[in-house]
């Protein structure tokens, strides 16, 4: 029997066929934004992957060097736009580390609660987008329906649906509004059932299993070597969650389970997010249960805006502080701090170097999507064209965060 592969070669053994270069993106329905991937295809099999990013590079870090510490807060929203409160939280924690202050307890609970809501909203979207990329459109519609509830709660608390800008250095912007708690509890109640619905629709489905099981596999050591974090790392069997291992804010008072799965394939990454949403719902409920009374921002007029404008008008000193903070920002002690939190996508770190002025000398964002996306080249090698879509979906890159 002749070897079929010989047919594509001439007598000298040179290959007569050549790889097809396929350009996926930057505008493509399932690259989750403006990601561009150059694929070297042999038939439908992938020989090489080159990920080209930067189509959404907006210069956030450069801009931050020209902004005061307060003005940067709205910028951080727009990094990982699916879960803005997490970004706010990481940023203000870094500034607070430099100022060596801590937000009041109630503010910490509110922040954590919102970060968990953001986690659900981020995970929801991706757990709907992955099946949609594989053809199951309805899942996306269902998850967006529940996401609207989170958007509604966010609008109720902060006034914006996506870009909350709610955390402030030394606290949060406002207290929770009236009527929030029953709504939030209702949401938790509904959400638990709805996650079951998604699982019923998709997680046992043989087609979905076939498309995601053993696709894009990565082992634990390799995942660490490639710097994966968050659900992508935990799906490979590495039990590392900053909320448990390096607790920040009030996570040490809450009880939750760190979801770890063994296989490290697309299905496990997806499933990991599903289960994390359940944990997040529990965390939100715990936050609501434990929520203490008290102020929501530190009483430091030289840093935080007073919420009540009457105090500004009542004393000259407060007035001067207010004008100072608004117009020129507040100086931050010289030094550098790196603070990272467990964002929905993985380790989100803010590294701020301050030279003692009201503007940072350098602000570096350790964007988890950026690092996670890097592993695409390793995961996709040897897969089929259609698998690349599943792998991108399971890595969950948010291009705004990748490109900064």
């Amino acid at each position: 029997m002749t070897d079929i592969s010989l047919l594509s070669k001439n007598e000298a053994g040179q290959k007569l066929t050549k790889e097809l270069l396929l350009n996926l993106g930057p505008q493509h329905p399932s690259t989750h934004g403006v990601l561009r991937i150059m694929l070297e295809l042999d038939g439908e099999e992938i020989r090489g992957v080159d990920t080209i990013i930067g189509y959404l590079h907006r210069g956030t870090e450069k801009l931050a060097e020209n902004f005061t510490y307060t003005q940067i807060i709205p910028l951080t929203d727009r990094l990982d736009y699916l879960c803005a409160p997490s970004n706010n939280l990481a940023y203000v924690l870094a500034v607070e580390r430099l100022l060596e202050i801590k937000a009041p307890e109630r503010a910490q609970y509110i922040r954590v609660m919102m970060a968990e809501m953001a986690r659900i909203s981020g995970h929801l979207l991706i757990s709907g987008a992955l099946p949609m990329d594989l053809g199951a459109m309805t899942t996306l519609l269902y998850v967006m329906r529940e996401r609207e509830m989170i958007m509604d709660l966010m609008e109720m608390i902060t006034g914006a649906r996506m870009h909350t800008s709610f955390c402030r250095v030394g606290g949060v912007r406002e207290d929770l509004p009236d009527g929030f708690e029953p709504r939030c509890r209702e949401f938790c109640h509904v959400m638990k059932q709805r996650i079951d619905d998604y699982e019923r629709l998709i997680s046992e489905n043989r087609i979905f299993l076939k498309r995601t099981r053993d696709i894009g596999k990565i082992s634990g050591e390799q995942a660490i070597d490639w710097g994966l974090s968050g659900p992508c790392l935990r799906a490979s069997g590495v039990s590392w969650d900053m909320r448990r291992d390096n607790p920040y804010e009030i996570y040490d008072r809450l009880s939750f389970e760190v979801i770890v799965r063994e296989n490290g394939d697309c299905y496990d990454r997806w499933k990991c997010r599903m289960d994390e949403m359940r944990e997040s719902v529990k965390l939100i409920e715990q936050c609501l249960d434990q929520m203490p009374a008290g102020p929501v921002a530190v009483a430091m007029p030289d840093i935080a805006f007073p919420l009540n404008k009457i105090t500004v008008k009542s004393s000259m000193e407060a007035m001067i502080h207010h004008f100072d903070v608004s117009a020129y920002g507040f100086p931050v002690p010289k030094g550098e701090a790196y603070v990272s939190i467990e964002a929905p996508k993985g380790e989100l770190g803010f590294y701020i170097i301050s030279d003692g002025s009201p503007k940072p000398l350098r602000m570096k964002v350790r964007a988890p999507s950026f690092i996670n996306l890097q592993a695409l080249a390793v995961l996709a090698r040897g897969c089929y064209l259609a698998d690349v879509i599943a792998i991108i979906g399971s890595l969950d890159p948010v291009i705004a965060e990748v490109d900064k």
């Binding site: 329906r145 006034g159 509904v190 019923r200 046992e204 004008f323």
Partner: protein
């Protein structure tokens, strides 16, 4: 981990039964079938219903008036300074009573981030972000809004956080006229009974 129904249990315990008789697929099909005959959660925005945002909503800017009906703004320019995108332009003048007032107060809606920092920094609580969100325009020049139109914008009104009845007026700049509250709560739709 999650509440299994009977079909799930069968397919989990005896996997071959599930695989042979397509229980996994039937499970999904039954779910979509159930949803098909449930009430839709859609809000019929332009024609029938309209969402009135929550009181904290950050939409179109508003200049507030004090109890005498005068502009509250004292043109201290704090909002212009704190704005990350420099979208507010304030030119002060002194009115006949010797008070500082804005001669020009322009907000460039096309550049604004709607972050709410101006609202936070205003010592007089004059500038605020209101609940109006329908202000699309055909040209970007129209999006620079001046002092007088900011004063005319209504602030945070209505029955916030609910769906009200609405009527679509196509010819008059495609406005959607909000009418009385229908007492209809969007959350009621989404909450499926068990």
């Amino acid at each position: 981990m999650y509440n299994e129904n009977a079909l799930d249990r069968i397919s989990r315990e005896h996997r071959w039964i599930g695989v042979t008789f397509f229980l996994d697929l039937i499970n999904g099909l039954s779910l979509t079938f159930k949803y098909m005959f449930s009430k839709s959660v859609t809000m019929q925005y332009p024609d029938r219903e309209k969402w009135v945002p929550y009181p904290r909503h950050r939409g179109h800017h508003v200049l507030r008036r004090d109890e005498n009906g005068e502009n509250k703004c004292v043109a201290c320019e704090l909002c212009a300074k704190i704005c990350p995108c420099n979208c507010i332009t304030v030119v002060p003048y002194e009115d006949e009573n010797g008070k500082r007032r804005p001669l020009v107060y322009d907000v460039d809606m096309a550049r604004c981030l709607y972050c709410g920092l101006c609202e936070d920094s205003c010592p007089e609580e004059a500038i605020a972000l209101g609940s109006v969100f329908e202000y699309s325009s055909y040209t970007s020049e129209e999006l620079v809004v001046g002092r007088d139109s900011l004063l005319e914008m209504d602030g945070k009104t209505g029955d916030p956080g609910s769906v009200v009845k609405a009527r679509y007026l196509p010819l008059a700049q495609c406005t959607v006229e909000a009418q009385e509250s229908s007492g209809h709560d969007w959350w009621r739709f989404i909450h499926r009974k068990d």
